[in-house]
């Protein structure tokens, strides 16, 4: 096995968790195959971050340039391709993030390398990697292998692997890459923060969250009443915002809010990982869903399998009873 190369990800000058999660997994895989781990860090003024990475990688490759201030896949791609061609890693790991999914598929085409997206497990047998991906909205695991290739690519789901303490003492190498100007065909304009609404759900101790299972807008009253009864606020998963039934600031999940309430009641939410990543730190999680295999039940402390239109009204009655 040759080295495993991890593309470091950062925002606002801070390395993100996914970077350390990938490096931990890469260390385990490389260790099994007698190989090393390299972290590739692109940005402007990356010295401090590079030092931090030396605890987690045998070698930290940096490309430090003013053109790399903001992430632009059109600028990043030729540099990453150049590094891969020069180093010949057996595997390249990229975060399955908004950053990574905008880069990895086009990079794979450029390198003519196999790509597995959104992986949650990686194993190696000799020189051969295989990965686990979740399909059908997290309901099925798919084991996927790669055709023989010098380098294979995988994008890694956030929080799929734990962050291990950094025990390495790697070196930092400046990689002499050709850094292109930002191309006219794709130019960064600005970042715009999400709009702030009247209710901050992340400040609430009780959240009743509603998902696709609620079916119609007129049924939303059911969860609003339950939230009121429990002294909480109503949150939701993405489909409810997409349908326009609640504003974006009520969305819990990776592209919405991350919440840690004392009580989280998920009603009609199947629990795709994007949602789970925003609420799994809640103290007590209750799930009501009709599919017993819905991933939400793996994250929940208590669950009721069944029809929410029967269970939520019954639950409101029972809460009133035990309170009396």
């Amino acid at each position: 096995m040759n080295e495993i190369l991890v593309l470091a990800e950062h925002r606002n000058g801070e390395l993100t968790d996914i970077t350390f999660e990938m490096l931990g997994k890469a260390g385990e895989l490389a260790g099994a195959g007698g190989a090393t781990v390299a972290a590739l860090l692109l940005g402007a003024g990356v010295g401090e971050m590079a030092q931090k990475l030396t605890g987690y990688a045998d070698e930290v490759l940096t490309v430090d340039h003013g053109n790399l201030t903001s992430f632009n896949s059109a600028v990043y791609q030729p540099i990453v391709a150049e590094v891969v061609k020069s180093r010949g890693p057996s595997m390249v790991l990229i975060g399955n993030t908004a950053f990574g999914v905008d880069l990895a598929p086009s990079l794979a085409v450029e390198l003519d390398a196999p790509l597995a997206s959104d992986v949650v497990g990686i194993v190696v047998d000799g020189d051969t990697f295989s990965v686990t991906r979740q399909i059908y909205e997290g309901k099925i695991d798919a084991r996927v292998s790669f055709r023989e290739a010098p380098t294979v690519l995988a994008t890694v789901r956030a929080a799929a692997f734990p962050v291990e303490p950094g025990t390495k003492s790697g070196s930092v190498t400046e990689f002499a890459a050709t850094v292109p100007e930002e191309p006219a065909m794709r130019r960064f304009v600005e970042y715009v923060e999400a709009a702030v609404g009247d209710v901050d759900i992340s400040a609430s101790e009780v959240i009743v969250a509603v998902g696709r299972g609620i079916k119609e807008e007129e049924n939303m009253a059911l969860v609003e009443e339950l939230a009121e009864l429990l002294g909480g606020v109503v949150g939701c998963s993405r489909p409810i915002v997409d349908a326009g039934w609640l504003p974006k600031d009520r969305q819990v999940g990776s592209s919405g809010k991350t919440v840690k309430p004392k009580l989280y009641v998920a009603v009609g939410i199947s629990g795709q990982f994007q949602h789970l990543s925003g609420m799994k730190a809640a103290e007590t999680i209750v799930a009501i869903n009709k599919d017993p295999k819905a991933p939400i039940f793996s994250a929940a402390d208590y669950g009721i399998v069944g029809d929410l239109f029967k269970i939520v009204p019954a639950l409101k009655d029972k809460i009133a009873e035990v309170r009396a």
Partner: protein
């Protein structure tokens, strides 16, 4: 402004309990309604909205079995002018990159200023096709797009990043955009539109028409190979409260009381 929208037919699984089919490489699709992949539906709507404001036609393109013509017809019923189906079993089992190569070949000879795809497929969970397609076509891209504004020879787009942060970019045309759900409110087809679309022709393309050899596409031309489907390990999971709705709810109410929530 002519726009191509790449669409895919998928089984509706969000609310269903799935079964793995014999052989372990697919799910049992029987009994699951087939529909347009949800992000693709938003991509189609965005294309229709743009062509209403800026003239031009919408072409819908799919790679799939005969049943997926239903998705093309429904798209024409909503306003797409033409439809193309890549209709050849050699494309079966292709991964995201192989599918992108096939779609790029199908676009040979099609005039377009913009290509829209959904940013993700709900069946295989991949987020590859649009971004890979742009690379094969040699044009720029952006994915996870939740805002599109058409300018002169370029589009200004908003990409949704983690935490809801929006990244604004200017991208020159032609380009490929991976559209995220929620960008618009997809319309429903009218009864009259559906009736008219049922009589429309759908162009069929086989691998030979596209200058692709059979070993470069489908499963043979894919860098990744599906080995086996399993159910995710159950993990510790929830304590399930059994009984009729009132019984199970009663148990939950007691637990909530014990924990001081009621």
């Amino acid at each position: 402004m002519n726009i191509v929208v790449c669409v895919k037919q998928v089984p509706e699984t969000a609310e269903a309990e799935l079964k793995i089919a014999a052989g372990g490489k697919s799910i049992v699709e029987e009994g699951l309604p087939l529909q347009i992949n949800e992000p693709d539906n938003y991509a189609l709507e965005e294309a229709l909205l743009i062509t209403e404001d800026h003239d031009g036609d919408v072409t819908v393109l799919t790679l799939g079995h005969e049943s997926s013509e239903e998705v093309l017809r429904m798209s024409m019923a909503k306003g797409a002018a033409t439809a193309i189906r890549v209709a050849d079993p050699v494309f079966d089992g292709g991964d995201g990159i192989a599918t992108a190569r096939a779609l790029a070949a199908a676009l040979e000879g099609v005039e377009y200023d913009l290509v829209l795809t959904g940013c993700m497929a709900s069946d295989d969970g991949n987020t590859q096709v649009g971004v890979a397609l742009a690379e094969v076509l040699g044009i720029p891209h952006a994915t996870y797009v939740t805002q599109v504004e058409v300018g002169d020879g370029e589009v200004t787009v908003g990409r949704e990043l983690e935490g809801g942060l929006i990244e604004k970019l200017k991208i020159s045309l032609p380009c490929v955009l991976g559209i995220q759900t929620g960008i618009n409110e997809p319309r429903y087809a009218s009864i009259m539109g559906i009736a008219k679309a049922s009589k429309r022709e759908i162009s069929q393309l086989a691998s030979g028409d596209m200058g692709l050899s059979a070993d470069a596409v489908g499963e043979a031309g894919s860098g990744t190979v599906l080995e086996e489907l399993t159910f995710p390990p159950a993990g510790e999971g929830a304590e399930l409260l059994e009984g009729t709705p009132p019984e199970a709810s009663g148990k939950l109410a007691e637990i909530l009381k014990e924990k001081g929530f009621v």
